[in-house]
């Protein structure tokens, strides 16, 4: 079993480890293959431009969401739970962007015997743009 973080060890203001991926066309293809997401504007530059993205094809919001889930799982380990994840898609994921999931603890509570930790999250690109602000709640074990 893997416990990466205990409730007692988390403080408001703590930041979770950054989680980064370069999103090239191959990453999008792999994701399209498992999520059945061969949507023309994710696959074809001409279709991307027709959808008003001058740079062509653009990445899937669902994949960015997966990156947030993965960053949380890598932080909490396998003896904890992801309870809630929310985000807003503000900036398009362009081809070859380097996306980084960031998160900061904003609240710790215990409710009905569960140790809840609330985080502010975001996915930034290589320019430092906030592409996907959001929040998450995880349930952590006691030490």
């Amino acid at each position: 079993m893997t416990v990466n973080v205990y409730f007692e060890d988390v403080k408001v203001g703590d930041e979770i480890p950054n989680w980064s991926r370069k999103t090239d066309f191959m990453n999008w293809n792999r994701y399209a293959a498992v999520n059945d997401e061969f949507v023309p504007f994710h696959m074809d530059d001409e279709a991307g431009r027709a959808a008003k993205n001058e740079q062509g094809a653009f990445g899937m919001g669902n994949l960015r969401y997966a990156y947030i889930v993965n960053a949380l799982r890598d932080w909490i380990g396998d003896e904890a739970e992801i309870r809630e994840v929310g985000c807003q898609y503000r900036v398009i994921n362009q081809k070859n962007d380097v996306l980084t999931v960031v998160g900061k603890v904003v609240e710790k509570t215990t409710e009905d015997g569960e140790n809840l930790v609330r985080l502010e999250t975001n996915v930034t690109n290589q320019n430092g743009d906030s592409t996907c602000p959001g929040h998450a709640i995880v349930v952590l074990p006691n030490r």
């Binding site: 999520n35 669902n62 969401y65 993965n70 396998d78 003896e79 992801i82 994840v85 985000c87």
Partner: protein, 161 residues
Amino acid sequence: MSEAADTLVTQEMIDRKGIWGGERTSPPISESDIRKWAIATYWPETPPKIYWDADYAKSTKYGGIIAPADFNPFAWPVERPARPQGGGGRGGGRTGLNGGQTDTYGVPMRPGDVITSRTRLKDWNERQGRMGLTLYTYTETEWRNQGDELVRTRISIGVRY
């Protein structure tokens, strides 16, 4: 010169508000579906063992392999009917955007699970924005497993102007 619309709320939205529909049922989730999903979303790094190593997963609080929270058991249907309506009720305006989502998770998805989904238009509001009158719709989608346990509730935000 045309007048700006007073509202982007349509009669179809009013008629469908709060009514569950769009029900569908997934094929059974396989270990291989979960493994491939995890590999694709963690690429080029190795995904956590909880998603693919049954012996390891047995030693965790979950007692077996679980799917990543974002796993989609409805991918790759054999039949492709028109997009299920149910939340439904498209608003007015010329442009639609995916405004984001909030997912609340119940029990995890596991190999062998069969997931049932239903959707409803939960609520909306509209206000003047940079692009003029803008409509925000909130569509709720609920997933339950074969034991009727709640797996996930998603509130999707649609934006139209």
